[in-house]
């Protein structure tokens, strides 16, 4: 009897789960598998791919290119784009951490009713259009834009600032885009922190820096690391920000991938780049999952 009931419950659970699982499995997991497959196919002569004709050209062409005379030369263009993406993502993550941690600490120390409002204020930008938020920075950063015009009027600068369409502008835009992802997990960790521990540290003669780095930071480490991953990962795959704010000299992985499906029409190469990006991201997630086993991002050890 109980056996039968349990079986019934299991059947019902999987019937309820099936539609969502199948939908994501069919329209997301299968496409990712297909993408991995396309990345090892031969490029079609007029764009597209030669189905069933295998080739590792796509991965090979990341490092090397064939010259007109048939010789093979090392090509560092793509490597540079990858390095730039990593570097920009790293700087963005650090900036976001520097700005995000004090804010999260401030929020966690507020009375409860303010805290919810502050959390809501941090999340609002996440729900607004990324394109529009980056466009706002064009208005601010461009020559004769708001910042340039004000600096000029105040007599601080007399030349145009020439910030838009540089990696610097991309960095500002990326930090702006992904900042909320840093604050929320750190806040989630700090909110659960027992601040009596901090008081105890002060009572025992610790100064502020010591209390911060010996008590608060270690206890909120899962949130800090989760925040860093949540900022770093979307930065690495960013497309909109470098496209709008960066010039041709600050192209990132996302733009390189998009180009393979636009002008370059090299689908296997685009698939290989996307697959590499995915592999890096999943690796970061796995390392995090192994370090903080069984905890959701931002959760502190109980």
């Amino acid at each position: 009897m109980i056996q039968a009931l349990r079986k019934d419950a299991r059947l019902r659970r999987w019937t309820l789960l099936a539609p969502a699982m199948l939908f994501i499995g069919f329209f997301m997991l299968a496409p990712i598998g297909l993408m991995a497959y396309v990345s090892v196919l031969e490029r079609g002569e007029f764009g597209g791919v030669e189905w069933g004709v295998f080739s590792i050209d796509a991965y090979w062409s990341f490092f090397f290119e064939r010259e007109l005379d048939g010789s093979v030369a090392v090509n560092t263009d793509y490597l540079q784009i990858f390095l730039r993406s990593f570097w920009l993502s790293l700087v963005t993550t650090l900036l976001a951490l520097l700005a995000g941690f004090p804010t999260a600490l401030y929020m966690a120390l507020q009375p409860e009713r303010y805290r919810n409002v502050l959390v809501f204020l941090v999340t609002i930008p996440f729900w607004t259009n990324l394109l529009v938020r980056n466009y706002a920075w064009i208005l601010l950063l461009r020559n004769n834009g708001l910042i340039d015009a004000s600096l000029n009027k105040l007599g601080i600068t007399s030349e145009p600032i020439n910030v838009l369409y540089t990696p610097f502008a991309t960095g500002i835009g990326l930090t702006y885009s992904f900042l909320p992802f840093m604050v929320l997990p750190i806040y989630a960790s700090l909110e659960k922190l027992d601040f009596r521990l901090v008081e105890a540290a002060f009572d025992l003669g610790a100064d502020r820096l010591r209390a911060l780095f010996r008590i608060i930071v270690p206890l909120s480490a899962p949130g800090i690391i989760a925040g860093c991953i949540l900022v770093f990962v979307p930065c690495l795959g960013a497309y909109v920000t470098p496209e709008l704010l960066g010039g041709s000299k600050s192209m990132m992985i996302g733009n390189l991938i998009q180009a393979q499906f636009g002008a370059s029409r090299n689908w296997p190469f685009g698939a290989a780049l996307a697959f590499t990006l995915l592999a890096i991201v999943l690796l970061a997630m796995m390392v995090y999952a192994m370090r903080f086993r069984g905890q959701a991002p931002g959760e502190t050890r109980q």
Partner: protein, 264 residues
């Protein structure tokens, strides 16, 4: 943690001004954009006077209206489908732990973990392979995928906050399972479903990267259209239509927040 009676904030005085700077950084650019959208001048960044003129220009532009209609159709269809699937999944995962749970959790979180550009590439290749013509339909399918986790999270949170004793009480009062579900669980779950549905709707309405890849020529959405406008240049029309999108999102997310907080 009984309030922070001995609030240690006084020790970390630096955090208040830096939090202030943080919120200024977060909101100033969009505030500037909204302010400039009411500028009467043709030159988009120099203020000459207040005027809603450019909103009129935008709202009488047929291409923008067509793109907005596409966006609405897609967002409504995708958020309805995604929220339905998410509600089923949340009901299934709410009870005790079960075998295969981590697989289920992983699959449900997949659309949030994978970088958008990767999803976009994979989905495009998939549609091309199965021979589905790119258009409104392909965009709806692609959006439904990422609407599922965004709707799932608030619904799941609502379910977890519910008192299991209510279900037992219904059973004690001779409700069969269906009655217990429709009379007790569902009414209590509605705010979660509604708030999840609104979030899915906003995410779909705002999506650019995935749409850009799988939309094809006939299914230009508002963000894709705005992207095209931005590339041509900074104009008062872009300011107005961007500000409109911003305000729609902010209003919707506020609604979702208020619903989510209601009757907790």
């Amino acid at each position: 943690m009984s309030g922070h009676r001995g609030n240690p904030l006084w020790r970390f005085r630096g955090v208040a001004p830096s939090a202030g700077l943080f919120f200024a950084y977060l909101y100033l650019p969009t505030a500037v954009l909204i302010a400039l959208s009411f500028n009467e001048n043709r030159i988009a960044t120099i203020w000459t006077g207040f005027s809603p003129h450019w909103y009129g220009v935008v709202l009488s532009n047929d291409d923008i209206l067509r793109a907005a209609r596409n966006s609405l159709v897609i967002a409504i269809a995708a958020s309805l489908a995604g929220t339905t699937l998410a509600t089923f999944a949340a009901l299934a995962t709410n009870s005790e732990r079960f075998r295969g749970q981590s697989l289920v959790n992983g699959l449900l979180a997949l659309p949030l973990l994978v970088p958008e550009i990767v999803t976009a590439v994979a989905t495009l290749l998939f549609f091309v392979l199965i021979g589905l013509k790119l258009g409104i339909m392909t965009v709806i399918i692609a959006h439904t995928v990422f609407c599922i986790p965004f709707a799932y999270l608030p619904i799941r949170a609502r379910l977890q906050g519910m008192d299991p004793a209510l279900g037992h009480a219904a059973a004690d009062l001779y409700a069969n399972e269906w009655q217990a579900f429709t009379r007790v669980t569902l009414p209590l779950l509605w705010p979660g479903i509604l708030s999840g549905g609104v979030l899915a709707f906003i995410i779909s309405l705002d999506d650019f990267v995935i749409t850009y890849f799988v939309a094809g020529a006939g299914a230009t959405t508002l963000p894709v259209y705005i992207f095209g406008m931005i590339r041509i240049g900074v104009t008062p029309e872009v300011n107005a239509v961007s500000a409109l999108m911003l305000m729609v999102s902010i209003v919707m997310v506020s609604i979702s927040w208020l619903i989510g907080r209601a009757r907790r």
